[in-house]
């Protein structure tokens, strides 16, 4: 019965369609090279002003006309931010999709080094996603797409510097942003911009 209902909902999905996106993120993905293999991805997300104001308003409990102050975030606020507006993304792989030569690479469920800061009107997150197994880039490109399958959030690489690679031996490697024409989003209409790393 449940399966039948689910099927019915999926069939009616064009009617359920919703107008998106509503949150915008400028991202930078940096691959970290250790012993010639990529072990982790350092992500940098810069949120739009609306989202930032909304989330900060909740953290600072400053509502109404006053609005949240622009003072730097303290560790308690960062922890709260993580709990309120980040941790649930665990169930969505932190929007991070990784492939090595076209094969899906799993990531570890918990991120490391989560931190956040306020820059003007915008909120910025930094965190490190660990690959389940280090990936050797010999002959195979590593591609990393950061996107929300439902397209509520539109994550796009910062123009000109959305991808980078660091670590010992990274001089021989290249990072660039390419268009992914396979994994289209939003009813098959949007080709996400993804980071591609080659050595």
């Amino acid at each position: 019965m449940k399966r039948l209902l689910t099927a019915a909902v999926l069939i009616l999905l064009p009617g359920l369609a919703q107008a998106h996106p509503h949150v915008w993120v400028d991202s930078i993905v940096t691959a970290r090279l250790e012993n010639g293999e990529v072990s982790a991805l350092v992500e940098d997300w810069l949120f739009d002003e609306d989202f930032s104001a909304t989330v900060l308003g909740d953290i600072r409990k400053a509502k109404g006309i006053a609005g949240p102050s622009k003072a730097p975030l303290n560790p308690g606020e960062i922890a709260k931010l993580k709990q309120n507006a980040f941790s649930n993304l665990k169930n969505y792989d932190y929007f991070t999709h990784v492939w090595l030569g076209g094969e899906v690479i799993k990531i570890k469920p918990d991120v490391e080094d989560f931190s956040a800061r306020i820059e003007g009107d915008q909120l910025r997150y930094f965190f490190t996603v660990r690959l389940a197994h280090p990936a050797s880039l010999k002959g195979k490109p590593l591609t990393v797409g950061v996107w929300d399958d439902s397209y509520y959030v539109d994550v796009g690489p910062v123009k000109g510097k959305g991808a980078a690679i660091q670590g010992t031996g990274s001089e021989a490697c290249h990072a660039r942003v390419v268009e992914d024409k396979v994994h289209s989003l939003y009813y098959g209409s949007i080709f996400p911009q993804i980071a591609e790393f080659t050595c």
């Binding site: 949150v23 002003e49 104001a53 509502k63 109404g64 969505y92 929300d148 509520y152 939003y186």
Partner: protein, 347 residues
């Protein structure tokens, strides 16, 4: 209208009962039932929908791009009003919000399927089309303004509570659409609201009836049939009520884009700018949805002109199908939310 507003206000004071409230990223705050929480990453299949065929794909992606640019400009102008004040950025905000509303509503969502089904399945006045689109857009703007104004400004609630309440309104909207669909179906079955008799086949049956009982049908063209006995032109209350209520039910679900703009302006002490912006967006949305509804009214007339619905029975059948489709849409969206398949308030 007043009654509905009171109902809305009453609803906002109830505790949050939504099965799956959305988090800040429009995601259910508990993982979907199908996912294994312990190992979500292992479960993930690498399967994606096929690309749209090209004219549509590039059209939809340019639509998204236009919206992104308008949104960036809107945020810039909102900051300008906050930092410098002045009339120029305020006027820019109104213009951009209006354009944003038009383009935003072209994309999926905004009740166009419900509105379209209604007008495709029955004869209607053009005014009905405008009224339904207008009431949907107006209620949608006003519900977002009341939601944010009341919860954030008066009750000092946080954004997550506002989103949860918006999710409740969304559920209420779908339940109302579902109920209205059933009511429409009943109207068709009982002969109250649909399908007047201007064709030969229905004649015999109808002449036997008291005519006045049937003139409520309001499908909008009672005047061009040449019966010997002209029906008395009565105000078509059931049809109008249905049109306005359906628009209202569709609009009850606030647009999270408007909520975010309202929250931003509230946090920056320029809430009135957010209110004006939301209303301007509503006018834009009304225009787009009107185009859809008028298009469907026209298409329906075109189809009936070429004889696609020759008989009373066929017309009734079509109107009944439309009503039930609307019921089904409401029910499916409710089920989608309750089962966690679709997060509440993600549009």
């Amino acid at each position: 209208m007043l009654k509905r507003l009171l109902l809305l206000l009453a609803l906002l004071t109830l505790p949050v009962v939504s099965a799956h409230a959305a988090d800040m990223f429009g995601k259910p705050d508990s993982p979907p039932a199908s996912a294994e929480p312990a190992t979500p990453i292992e479960q993930k299949p690498d399967v994606f929908a096929p690309n749209l065929p090209d004219p549509f794909r590039s059209a939809l992606s340019s639509l998204v791009e236009v919206q992104r640019q308008l949104n960036t400009r809107l945020r810039g102008d909102l900051r300008a009003v906050r930092d410098q004040g002045g009339l120029t950025p305020a006027l820019a905000i109104i213009t951009i919000s209006f354009l944003y509303g038009i383009f935003h509503a072209v994309g999926p969502g905004h009740g166009k399927v419900v509105v379209g089904s209604y007008f495709l399945s029955r004869r209607s006045r053009l005014l009905h089309g405008l009224a339904m689109s207008g009431s949907a857009a107006l209620v949608q703007s006003v519900s977002a303004i009341i939601l944010v104004g009341l919860l954030a400004l008066v009750l000092e609630a946080g954004s997550s509570e506002i989103m949860a309440r918006a999710g409740q309104l969304e559920e209420l909207s779908y339940a109302a659409i579902c109920g209205l669909g059933l009511w429409m179906a009943w109207g068709v079955i009982s002969g109250r609201t649909c399908c007047e008799h201007h064709d030969d086949e229905a004649h015999g049956a109808h002449d036997a009836h008291d005519h006045h009982e049937h003139d409520h049908c309001g499908c909008g063209h009672d005047h061009h049939h040449d019966h010997a006995h002209k029906p008395v032109a009565k105000p078509q209350r059931p049809e109008w009520l249905q049109v306005i209520l359906t628009g209202g039910a569709v609009g009850l679900r606030p647009c999270s884009g408007a909520i975010l703009v309202l929250l931003f302006t509230l946090a920056n002490g320029i809430f009135w700018v957010g209110v004006v912006s939301t209303l301007a967006m509503g006018v834009g949305v009304a225009i787009t949805v009107s185009v859809v509804s008028l298009g469907m009214v026209g298409l329906q007339r075109g189809l009936s002109a070429i004889g696609a619905e020759r008989t009373q029975r066929l017309r009734q059948g079509l109107a009944l199908t439309g009503s039930l489709l609307i019921t089904l849409l409401g029910a499916a969206q409710l089920y989608g939310i309750w089962s966690g398949l679709v997060p509440a308030i993600a549009g």
